[in-house]
Amino acid sequence: MAGARLDERSIALCAAREFQDGMLVNLGIGIPTACVTFIPPDKEVLFHSENGLVGFGQIIEDPQLADANLINAGAQPVSPKPGMVIVDHAESFAIVRGGHIDISVLGAFQVSEKGDLANNVMPGKQVGSLGGGQDLAFCAKKLIVTMTHTDKENRPKIVKQCSSRITAPECVDLIVTDIAVVEVTDRGLVLREVAPGWTAEEVQALTEPRLIVSPELKEMGLM
C-alpha cells in the first residue's frame, strides 16, 4: 500500500522550491495560488497577476482587510507590498508575451508525455476557458504544472496523448503532483521525486507513459 497523497499546500510548497531570488512568477488559479505563502525569507520573488499586478503580497483572508481594488487573477484580495506596480491588461500581457515571466505555475486536467498542456476545458464540460493561461504556457521561460496525479476515478492525468483539446503543445517543463515530481525532458518524462511512502513503481502504475526513474530519485522535500 502506497503512502498518503500530499495535500494542495504541500504540492504548492514543492513547486515553490523552484523559485529563485529575483524571479518573476505567475501563479494560476487553484493549487498554484498557494505558492505565494512558501517563499523563504532570504529570497525575493515577485508575483505577476494577469489583471496587472506585479510584486503584490499575501492573499488576504480577513474580509475586514480586503480591498476590492487590489485583487489577483483569481479575484482574491491581496496585500500591497513595497515595490509593487500596477499596469493595465495590455501591458500585463506585454509582460507575459514578451518573455518577462521566469516561471508560470498552472493547474492542468492532463499533461502529455511531450509536455502538451490540457487545461482549458474541464472534463465533462462543453464550454472551456482560456483565461491568461495560454499566453503563459506559450511564453513563460519555465512552466510548472501542479495537479493531482490522477482524476477522481483514479485515472492518470499524465498521459501519452491528451484526450481533450490542448492549451499549448510541448510547453510543460515540470509536473508537481500529490505523489511525484516529474520533469519533461527531450528523452521523456523523468521521475525526480516521489512523495513520502511512495515507490517509483507505485507512481508509474498511476502514470500512462513510461517514466524514466532518475538515478538521484529523492523523496519530495516538504520544508
Binding site: 476590492a68 481594488n69 493595465d88 500581457f93 508575451r97 483565461g131
Partner: protein, 253 residues
C-alpha cells in the same frame, strides 16, 4: 468648451444600436465593472450584441447566491451588475471572451446559452484579447503573437515564422462602444483608476468609436496630475458619475 460629462446613464449609452460590437470591461471582482452602464444597456433592451470581455459574467441569480449563500472574503455590493445581466435578458448574440466557463460543475448564464445554441462563443486568451483591443486603439490592423500556434485557437488563422519561432496572425478588436469604469475624471475625459481596477478598463479606452466611462468622481480640470493620468481624455467621449447610494438596475437613471 470641452465637456464630456453626461448627466444620466441612459444618455451615456444612447446611440448604441442593435447588433453593436461592445467592449465591456471588468475582470471578475466587485470593483472594476461598469455596472451602471451595463444596467442602462439592459434597460434599452437592445439585442444582437457582440460583446468582447474577460468573462460572460455571473448574472443576477448567481450573484444573489454568491452574496447570500457563499462565504467570500470580498463582498459584491447590491448594485453590482455584470455582463450576465445582458446574457440573461437575451441581448447577446456573440461573446468574444477569455473566461466564459465557470470553474467547477456549475454553469454561468453565458455557458448555458452557448450549450443551448442561443449564443455564439469565440474563445480567445486574455493576452490576445488585450493586445487586439490595444491594437484597435493604436491603429494596428493585425499582429503576430506566439500564443495559440498549434492549438484550436489557430484554426483558420495564418501561421508565420519569424526568427525560427512560429506566430499566429491576430486582428485588432475594435468596438462600436467601450464601456469602462474609472475612479476620477475631469471634463476633458482624462481618467485615473484605483489599484487593480485599471485592468481592461484602461485597455479598452480609445479602442471603440465611442468610449463611455462610469466614474466615482468628477474633479476640476487641472486637479489630475498630467503624469498620473492613465487614460488621456482624447480616448473618452462620455463620462457619467456613479450614484452615491446603490440603485436597482431596472430604474431609469
Amino acid at each position: 468648451m470641452i465637456n464630456k460629462i453626461v448627466n444620466t446613464f441612459d444618455e451615456a449609452v444612447s446611440g448604441i444600436k442593435e447588433g453593436a460590437k461592445l467592449l465591456i470591461a471588468s475582470f471578475g471582482g466587485p470593483a472594476e465593472c461598469p455596472s451602471y452602464l451595463i444596467a442602462a444597456l439592459a434597460r434599452t433592451g437592445i439585442k444582437n450584441l457582440t460583446v468582447v470581455s474577460n468573462s460572460g459574467g455571473w448574472g443576477t441569480e448567481f450573484m444573489e447566491a454568491i452574496r447570500t449563500r457563499m462565504s467570500s472574503v470580498l463582498t459584491f455590493p447590491p448594485d453590482f451588475y455584470d455582463l450576465g445581466l445582458l446574457v440573461e435578458r437575451g441581448q447577446l448574440t456573440k461573446g468574444i471572451l477569455a473566461v466564459p466557463a465557470a470553474i467547477g460543475r456549475i454553469h454561468t448564464p453565458f455557458e448555458k446559452k452557448v450549450m443551448n445554441g442561443e449564443v455564439e462563443l469565440e474563445l480567445v486568451g486574455q493576452g490576445t484579447i488585450a493586445e487586439g483591443i490595444r491594437a484597435a486603439r493604436a491603429g494596428i490592423a493585425a499582429f503576430y503573437t506566439p500564443t495559440g500556434v498549434g492549438t484550436f485557437v489557430a484554426e483558420g488563422k495564418e501561421v508565420r515564422e519569424f526568427d525560427g519561432r512560429k506566430y499566429l496572425l491576430e486582428h485588432a478588436i475594435k468596438g462600436d462602444a467601450s464601456l469602462i469604469r474609472a475612479h476620477k475624471a475631469d471634463r476633458y475625459g482624462n481618467l485615473t483608476y484605483r489599484g487593480s481596477a485599471r485592468t481592461f478598463n484602461a485597455t479598452m479606452a480609445g479602442a471603440s468609436t465611442v468610449t463611455i466611462a462610469e466614474v466615482d468622481e468628477v474633479v476640476e480640470l487641472g486637479e489630475l496630475d498630467p503624469e498620473q493620468i492613465v487614460t488621456p481624455g482624447i480616448y473618452v467621449q462620455r463620462v457619467v458619475v456613479r450614484p452615491r447610494e446603490p440603485r436597482p438596475w431596472d430604474k431609469p437613471m
